[in-house]
Amino acid sequence: MNCDEIRSKIDDYFDGLLNPDESGSVRQHIEFCPECKSKLKLLQSLSEELKGLPLEFEPPKSVIKEITDALLYGKREEELEKKAKEKKEDSLKKQKRKDSASGRGKKSKDDRNIGKGDSEFKMLYAGSIAIIFALIYYFTFITGNTGPWNINSQRAAYKVNGITSTAKSVDAGDTFEVPGKDSVKLVIPDIGSIILSNSASIKIDETSKSNNQVTLKSGRFSFTLQKEEANMHIKYSGTSIMAARNNFVCEVDPNGYLTISSQTGTTVIKRNSEILNLAADYLCKLSPDGSIGIPYHNSASNKLKSALSEYEANIQNYEALTVILVEANSSDALTLLRLIKRSAPANREMIYQKLYLFFPPPLDVTRLSILNLNEEAFIKWWKEIEWQL
């Protein structure tokens, strides 16, 4: 083979695409031909340079943020929906323009005025409908009343305002008691129901659609709230339990402790500025003075529960904390998160690390923000955990 033939094959030789015979001939030629040898060397040098090209283009920091936002907070979907809507509107506009250009949609000046009149009429019509709906909403939901609440009892005796009664309903201002173990159901129209048992006693404070409020005194209560806008407030020693569209059970024990067990949905417990979102399958105790205890999962071991009460009584109890950290598993995430808030600064790191093992926090939640008890960081981390539980 001469040099021209070799050069036409040198790229394939370099890429290893020649058959053994051809490859051998090219190799033989190159050994004795300095020009072809230098061509091959240049190819090799270029290849090495290409292999060594650095990854020098640094993606903007917003890339990871956009990915995180889309994955954790669904922002991308909203954006895409918005874009799709804009695209649809654009294409409609384009279609209209096309129609008018082709003459089919040509309108005279009068026609356009008629169109203008049409849109004004439509706006007026939509406005009136909105006002009518607002009035209906105002009268039915804001000023409307859910009371009186119906009493539904099979055989249990009950008292209204301290007197044994056969009344079929109770309303705001009434105190309702079920002295025995049998249960009685209070049906709140459009909202849900409360089942009272075990010497339950309740004071009905308000029965309006914007606010249904009861004060718990003693016994066991099972709340079933069917609507998102249930506006149910339950008071106990200055602490408020707010619920909507969920099931939960409250029980006051003889020592005055109230145990709240959230069964479906989230129950919000609020005392002054302290808020606890009690997730489904979690329990929490309120002290007789209304202070909020550390929540625990309904599958938590007795060892964990008893260590929690010891630690609550004395947050310097290192042994109790050790038991908690050994016993806790991923379903105790809310317990651990709450413990960080309750613990002395020196103990927070250990609890943080334990929870991190199960659910690393989102990227925008730093370790320091948690250790410094930044409320926003706690909310973000919990949101990240909640959907995984």
Partner: protein, 176 residues
């Protein structure tokens, strides 16, 4: 064949079980590779960013299909290339002439590089650059490049690579 590091395998497994944070960790490890490839091919920082984000989200949607015998970055690059080709095709349909002919790109002044070879590659005409990057940098075979770009035969792709090599060697002859 190259396989993923144990840590990467751990993250993939965790992401496949639904742990989004693990997937974000995987993205953090790989976005620079994806972004660099997209910048080189598209020579447009905004589009490269769009490709990187879209690739990551598509990878999350398909995370269950990652095979243990394929390195994760290669798998992600495959998705990135699909997104890049979509953009190229959209651009081509906008300017009708660009799909057939190799034509010089307008240099994007926002992209800076100290590496002369990098700059030379980015100043190549669109299709020439695309073919050269796929073959010579990303390591796809001629047949695979032809599968990506069915409008080019294997012979045509070989020719483009050979000519581009010549051009680059000529431009860099004092430095190689």
């Amino acid at each position: 064949m190259r396989t993923d590091h144990e840590y990467i395998k751990l993250l993939i497994g965790s992401a496949q079980r639904g742990r989004k944070n693990s997937f974000i960790d995987l993205c953090e490890i790989n976005v620079k590779k994806i972004y660099t490839m997209a910048v080189r091919i598209l020579v447009d920082l905004d589009k490269a960013k769009e490709v990187t984000v879209n690739t990551s989200l598509a990878a999350w949607e398909n995370i269950k299909f990652v095979r243990p015998d394929t390195p994760f970055d290669i798998w992600m690059k495959g998705i990135a290339l699909f997104n890049i080709f979509t953009i190229i095709r959209e651009q081509a349909s906008k300017s009708e002439s660009s799909s057939e002919n190799l034509k010089p790109i307008t240099p994007n002044t926002a992209i800076h590089s100290k590496n002369k070879l990098e700059l030379l590659i980015m100043s190549l005409p669109d299709k020439e650059r695309l073919i050269f990057i796929l073959y010579s940098i990303e390591g796809y075979t001629y047949q695979e490049v032809s599968d990506f770009l069915p409008e080019f035969s294997v012979g045509e792709i070989k020719f483009v690579v050979r000519e581009t090599r010549k051009k680059l060697i000529e431009a860099l002859k004092d430095e190689l």
